[in-house]
Amino acid sequence: MTETTKLGLFTYDVKNGLGLIGYNVDEHEHAHIIVDTKKCGDCDSMMCVWGCPAQCYMFRDVGLEEMKFQYEDCVECGTCFLMCTDGALSWNHPRGGFGITYSQG
């Protein structure tokens, strides 16, 4: 049980939600978001963690000592870029044809 689950009164099963979306995941060398996790070390607010609707960022909220980022589940909304106060993010959209593919929208 993660710390967030304990804290949240209502917990959305985000992994299940993400499982409903189609993706065409690009290779690691073309990851569209790059996080300089060295800059995340002493970040108190961890706003990327809370803002990201796809749980791409995991940190002390789940008991980790270091920021763990994965781009594969990204829904390309841009929230993390706006939320980061430490300039740790290089944010771009995935290459054409890659990334999320909504079928409803």
């Binding site: 209502f10 917990t11 809370w50 993010l89 959209h93 929208g105």
Partner: protein, 521 residues
């Protein structure tokens, strides 16, 4: 501008703003094979998501290309004839409900023009619009992301797209944020930011055009990196909303029945319901979060809910102001609380979520427009330009996107025929007409509403006070009836006694201030 360009106009983004610009250009006499529309989605529409309603009959103007769009476009779901505004607290719900037979064509007035709002699913709608663009002879290229523009007299290999978006090594935090490009020679940076735009760069190849239209939607990187909207950066989460939603399958018959919808016939689309909600669901979550993460102590999520019926599904979601999100609460958990509120849970009962998603929405208002809409050889339309209107009862972005696209199409055609596509010429046509249009007039008139909407009261005690009061006013417990006004005062007193936050927030002066700003809606 005598030299031959590959295209007259290149449009980046095949959403409503981009498609509208393209169709309008055709109407103005620009040849389809002189227009290129590129989109990073493949198929087109696959990157798009809405938490809104399409307002107005803007698409009628493109009848020659779209035909009977209302009936034929797969993503145009239901004609809204049933509009609800509600106040939700964890147990109570009060709705104000309007049902308008004329809105779906089942009333005495069977005029299609009475129908003026539709629930929409954008992945489907955009794919259909792209087909129609191709049928009309426009070049449409899916799966193409553009992150560099071609600038006259500048070798695009002198910088990379990553230089525009990567933080500089010596970047400071917050307002001192710097990008790699900021450390390049000043002359080059100035060219990127103020040079004449003459096309796009794709995979190292240049495609030239007389005008480039940026129609990338919300979170537009090009408007940021090419300085139309230099404020869109890590410091600008103010005035940006994140929508988180699920599309939940219930089946057409169940939706028709549950929401009392007109099922539609050969001439009329099915009718549907649209609902916007003020939420006070997050008090307990916030208090726990503040305790755990004092860094955002006191920050309360300003969050609203929306609920729309589509043909086979419902769109159910929340929209939260990013600047109001405290540490300790995930955005998707805000959605879960909404979904579990009994009044909402009842509406989606038996349904199955078939898609989850999230999207940013600019809610800028006039105080926070891009600092320019045009550059030499380029302009920006739709959500990319922040042309979204919100007053709490409506969020309108899609009609504004369509309308701004039309104004852009007209302006560009005129400028091309005059042989002058400078920033000034485009400003004198496009920006001028934009500022004279209903988009700007609405934004101006409702600018004071932003103050009201951002008032934390609307997200904390107001929905609760309304719900609790209604609960008691409507209930019959075999005792003497008490006038509603007295109940309201009693509930207020109890709520103030209950919490310290309410003690301050619900004071008479605060309430008066809220009422005074609310009047401007």
């Amino acid at each position: 501008m005598d030299e031959e360009t590959d295209f007259d106009v290149i449009i980046i983004g095949a959403g409503f703003a981009g498609a509208s610009t393209a169709f309008q250009l055709l109407k103005e006499g620009i040849e389809g094979d002189r227009i290129l529309v590129v989109d990073r989605g493949e198929p087109i529409g696959s990157k798009n998501l809405t938490g809104g309603i399409l307002w107005g009959r803007e698409l009628d103007d493109f009848e020659e290309f779209l035909g009977n769009w209302e009936m034929d476009c797969p993503g145009i779901e239901r004609a809204i004839n049933h509009k609800k505004v509600g106040f939700l607290s964890s147990e109570d719900a009060l709705f104000v409900e309007g049902r308008f037979a004329s809105w779906d064509g089942t009333g005495d007035t069977d005029e299609p023009s009475q129908r003026s709002s539709w629930s929409v699913l954008r992945a489907k709608a955009d794919a259909w619009m792209a087909e129609k663009m191709e049928e009309a002879g426009i070049f449409v290229m899916p799966g193409m992301k553009i992150d560099q523009l071609h600038i006259e007299g500048l070798d695009h290999e002198s910088y990379t797209a990553r230089d525009l978006t990567d933080p500089a090594e010596d970047s400071g935090e917050g307002a001192a944020q710097k990008w790699k490009i900021d450390n390049f020679p000043k002359e080059l940076v100035d060219k990127i930011r103020n040079g004449v735009i003459r096309g796009i760069v794709q995979d190292g190849e240049v495609m030239t055009s007389k005008v480039v239209v940026i129609a990338e939607g919300s979170n537009s990187i090009l408007t940021r990196t090419y300085h139309f909207d230099s404020m869109l950066n890590a410091q600008s989460k103010e005035d940006l909303l994140l929508g988180v939603k699920e599309v939940i399958h219930l089946g057409k018959e169940r939706i028709d029945e549950r929401f009392n919808c007109f099922p539609g016939d050969d001439e009329r689309p099915p009718s549907g319901m649209a609902m916007e909600l003020a939420l006070s669901l997050y008090r307990d979550m916030a208090h726990k979060a503040w305790k755990e993460y004092p860094v955002t102590d006191g920050l309360y999520p300003r969050c609203g809910g929306f609920f729309y019926t589509n043909r086979e599904t419902v769109s159910c979601g929340i929209i939260v102001q990013l600047s109001s999100l405290p540490s300790g609460i995930h955005t998707y958990d805000l959605y879960q609380a909404f979904k579990e509120q009994p009044a909402i849970a009842a509406l989606i009962e038996g349904g199955e979520a078939i898609e989850y998603g999230a999207h940013l929405c600019p809610e800028y208002g006039l105080h926070r427009m891009p600092h320019r809409f045009t550059r030499d050889g380029a302009l920006v339309v739709g959500d990319a330009a922040g042309l979204v209107f919100a007053n709490g009862m409506q969020i309108q972005g899609m009609n504004n996107a369509l309308h701004s696209g039309k104004l852009a199409g007209k302006a560009i055609a005129a400028c091309i025929s005059n042989g002058d596509v400078s920033a000034k010429a485009l400003d004198d046509t496009y920006t001028k007409s934009l500022k004279a249009s209903y988009i700007y007039r609405d934004l101006k008139r409702f600018e004071p509403a932003t103050k009201f909407l951002n008032n934390p009261a609307n997200f904390t005690w107001v929905p609760e006070l309304v719900g609790k009061t209604a609960n008691r006013v409507f209930r019959e417990i075999g005792e003497e009836k008490v006038p509603a006004e007295k109940v309201l005062r009693q509930v207020r007193k109890e709520m103030r006694a209950e919490s310290k936050a309410n003690k301050k927030g619900m004071g008479l002066f605060s309430m008066l201030k809220l009422a005074l700003t609310g009047r401007k809606l």
